[in-house]
């Protein structure tokens, strides 16, 4: 037996006219945790689907599984050889119990087979015990947290005899603690000889847990590197092909105070929040998920009422009854949930960029001019360099990074003094992230006051003038990135 779990050589795939994968080589060792990295559209998913037997690669490919050589893998063969993929949506049945989900595969091809509940519970319990998970086999999946659902998905593939597991963005919606425990689990599995491939956008955790990282760019293999000695900056460069700056922001100028908070509290959400935001400043608001970051933003944007404390804008007391009040007072808020709250996905790019400024596009009163809407969109498309083929298309047709630019455009159109950005780079590629932060820094340089909410230490460190670290709804400490290292900041956030 060799140490190689799977090796694939000369993997190519052509869709229509575009070459999605071009003679890529992939090698995974037994008991290894590997990261598959690359920007959206680089061919990661296609590669996984080829190894998993879903897509048929172009001729010329060579697979080595253990000691065996193959020229193709069918989905059934992939399963029989223990190759499994856990996609980001997990593909569980929320209304069924944990045990039923785990043994589900037994029943797939046998619709008439009666379900043996006791047996299912027993077998699930065995698997759960074997790997030391904390999971109740009788619980319904819909009642579980995302982290626990992930365990169910893992149990399912383990029971099916998985020895190679691909995990697609497994950490995307987990809290810091949950991520840590998931990473610990991948290590446990690896110790038992199972090979794991993680696909993740979060470079920090990738470097922490993986032994090697395979980087793809535009359908081509950039290389496979040991993570020993690899930095986030270097990995970004490998993924994007661009040298990205990795230094803290330096801001010489600081303008007059715009927004002042004094002892702002909202029962059950945050307590005693005080700070002053100045013109031209980027203030970081960070902390773990649930520390109260988004809740504070909602209150500043008039979506919720504070229970006590005072807000002042330009020195005058600020009372907001709705987010329309906030917009009138030149406060804008870019939601963290671009898909559900940030943009109306089905409607056009034109409509999404104009929705915040309808009264200004009405001329004469009562006539909303389609021409003005188009002109407005065209102006922002140009200014923010949004890649748009037709602004009448649904905004959902754009990539994540371009969608985020449309979301930015719709708020910039209101000409805000204070711009609150709630996790503006979620679901955005590394390269596109840098582009978005360039825009944000440019806005601050023009005098806009910006609050940047993020739980990624790197983003906060590189882009803010100072950062407030929240813990359980209170400000725990204030950090000046220029005076500290990224690692130190990360430690403070996760303390």
């Amino acid at each position: 037996m060799s140490d190689i779990a799977i090796r694939a050589r000369h993997v190519s795939k052509v869709f229509g006219q575009s070459r999605v994968l071009d003679s890529v080589e992939f090698e995974l060792l037994r008991g290894e945790v590997m990261c598959l990295a690359g920007e959206n559209g680089c061919g990661k998913s296609t590669l996984i689907k080829i190894i998993n037997g879903v897509y048929k690669p172009e001729p010329g490919v060579q697979f080595t599984l253990g000691d065996e050589s193959l020229t193709s893998i069918s989905p059934l063969e992939a399963r029989n050889r223990g190759i499994h993929v856990i996609w980001q949506d997990l593909a569980l049945f929320p209304h069924l119990t944990v045990a039923e989900n785990i043994v589900f595969d037994d029943y797939v091809a046998k619709p008439w087979k009666p379900i043996a509940y006791r047996e299912a519970l027993r077998q699930s319990f065995e698997i759960i015990q074997q790997f030391g998970f904390n999971l109740d086999p009788a619980a319904r999946v819909e009642e579980l947290t995302v982290a626990h659902r992930q365990l169910v998905a893992i149990c399912r593939v383990l029971r099916a005899g998985a020895n190679i597991i691909f995990m697609d963005e497994p950490t995307a919606s987990l809290t810091y603690k949950e991520v840590q425990s998931l990473l610990a689990i991948t290590r446990t599995l690896a110790d038992q000889g199972i090979s794991i491939v993680l696909v993740s956008h979060r470079l920090a955790e990738v470097l922490e847990v993986c032994q090697r990282v395979t980087v793809l760019r535009n359908g081509q293999l950039v290389g496979t590197y040991p993570t020993e000695g690899m930095t986030q900056a270097r990995l970004s460069t490998l993924m994007t092909g661009l040298e990205l700056e990795h230094t803290p922001r330096v801001n010489a100028r600081k303008g007059a105070p715009v927004l002042e908070l004094d002892g702002l509290s909202r029962d059950g959400e945050f307590e005693d929040i005080s700070f002053t935001l100045n013109r031209g400043e980027i203030l970081g608001l960070t902390g773990l998920l649930g520390a109260g970051r988004t809740e504070i933003a909602h209150t500043l944007f008039g979506m919720t009422r504070p229970t006590s404390g005072v807000m002042r804008k330009d020195g005058r007391p600020l009372k907001l009854r709705s987010n329309r009040d906030a917009v009138r007072h030149k406060i804008a808020y870019l939601s963290e949930d671009r898909f559900h709250l940030g943009l109306v996905q089905n409607q056009s790019i034109n409509m999404n960029s104009a929705v915040t400024v309808l009264p200004f596009l009405e001329k004469p009163r009562g006539f909303l001019s389609p021409g003005r809407i188009k002109a407005l969109t065209a102006r922002w498309v140009e200014q923010l360099k949004i890649k748009v083929s037709d602004a009448e298309l649904a905004v959902s047709s754009l990539s994540g990074g371009n969608q985020q630019r449309v979301a930015l455009a719709k708020w910039l159109a209101t000409e805000p003094d204070v711009l609150i950005l709630d996790c503006p780079t979620i679901g955005v590629d590394v390269g596109a992230k840098a582009g978005i932060f360039d825009i944000i820094r440019g806005l601050a340089d023009q005098g806009m006051a910006i609050i940047l909410i993020s739980d990624e230490a790197g983003e906060i460190w590189m882009n803010t003038d100072r950062a407030l670290v929240l813990r359980e709804g209170r400000i725990a400490t204030e950090v000046t990135p220029a005076d500290t290292t990224e690692e130190a900041l990360e430690a403070v956030i996760n303390a």
Binding site: Q17, S18, N218, M303, S322, N323, R324, A326, V327, Y333, S335, H340, L341, G342, L343, V344, Q345, N346, Q347, M351, A354, V355, T356, L358, P359, E362, G366, F367, L368, S369, P370, S389, D390, E392, L393, A394, K410
Partner: protein, 330 residues
């Protein structure tokens, strides 16, 4: 990489998707007219076109009343009974309180009737906006409430015998076109303007696709919902006026069978059952096709019920033909 050759192709598909709806509906209208011109004796006569344009406006106005809530992601199941209530109010005022006021009695009674229609819609809008219950449930409750109230007040009977001036509204012509048709065309043009060139129309489309994201964008979603249902009630009230004028009488339950047909007509015209999309022009063309089928079959001596069955089949065919285009859009 290969984006440049793809981009214009995409744009032309989009251009198609928007005009496609109109083209498809026009094609169906032309085909159905051609079909019945050949097979139905007297289909091409002025009498037939006269009677078709006499019958279309009621269903047309009710369908417009249904379209607005559908675009907002809801439904107004009370349109027919709202029309009845508005008609009853007008009839009651014309014969009772305003009977002796001469010239201004009739217009005043019409305004009152329309106000009752708008108020009925407004009530639904307020409940939908502030209680947050699903519009189907709210308007279903309202429908049964209006029906019961109307029957209680009229004791199940009707009011008939409108003055001469009122009847001309239903049977008169202007430039050779029946007055109800003019009313329908004016309402449709007005609605088109509102949906495409005003903040309310813009917001209705946005909120129909995603109410929460629309609210996060600073749109007063509650206010828009109230206006949407008030507008729907007003259009239903207008349908009530036309019905009252044409039949010279009004009774609760009048035109009840139109209710589901208005829903059918909206979906036939490409309105999205999940909200956000729906246009007036294809709706009008679709309604015309339905009317052509009904009148044509009537002239051929087929039963009214068979015509209803054909309407249903028509909807299924159009849906089936449209599906590939909807999928390619997604």
């Amino acid at each position: 990489m290969n984006k440049s050759p793809n981009a214009p192709a995409k744009a032309s598909i989009r251009l198609g998707a928007d005009t496609l709806e109109v083209l498809v509906m026009t094609a169906f209208l032309v085909i159905s007219i051609a079909f019945f011109s050949l097979l139905a004796p007297g289909f091409l006569s002025t009498t037939n076109f006269g009677s078709m344009s006499m019958q279309l406006p009621e269903l047309g106005l009710l369908s417009l009343a249904m379209l607005v809530p559908i675009i907002s992601g809801g439904l107004n199941l009370s349109v027919t009974f709202t029309a009845n209530l508005a008609g009853l109010t007008t009839a009651w005022f014309v014969q009772g309180a305003l009977a002796d006021m001469g010239g201004i009695g009739v217009p005043l009674a019409i305004v009152t009737g329309l106000a009752v229609g708008a108020a009925s819609g407004c009530l639904i809008g307020v409940i939908v906006a502030y209680v947050g219950a699903h519009p189907i449930l709210v308007s279903l409750g309202a429908m049964i409430f209006f029906q019961g109230m109307g029957e209680f007040l009229t004791r199940g009977g009707g009011i008939s015998g409108m003055p001469e001036t009122f009847q001309t509204l239903g049977s008169g012509h202007w430039l050779g076109v029946p007055i109800p048709m003019w009313i329908f065309l004016a309402a449709a043009a007005g609605l088109m303007y509102i949906m495409h060139f005003t903040r309310i129309g813009f917001s209705t489309h946005m909120l129909g696709s995603n109410p929460r994201a629309t609210e996060y964008s600073g749109i007063d979603v509650k206010r828009v919902l109230i206006i949407v249902y008030t507008l729907s009630g007003l259009l239903a009230g207008l349908a009530g006026m036309v019905m009252l004028a044409r039949f010279n009488s009004v009774r609760v339950g009048h035109g009840e069978s139109y209710l589901l047909i208005t829903v059918l007509a909206c979906f036939l015209a490409g309105a999205n059952p999940f909200g956000g999309f729906g246009r007036v022009l294809p709706l009008m063309l679709g309604l015309m096709s339905l009317q052509v089928i009904a009148s044509g079959m009537n002239l051929m001596g087929a039963s009214q019920h068979l015509a209803t069955a054909v309407w249903g089949g028509f909807l299924i065919i159009v849906m089936a033909l449209r599906m590939p285009f909807i999928k390619s859009r997604e």
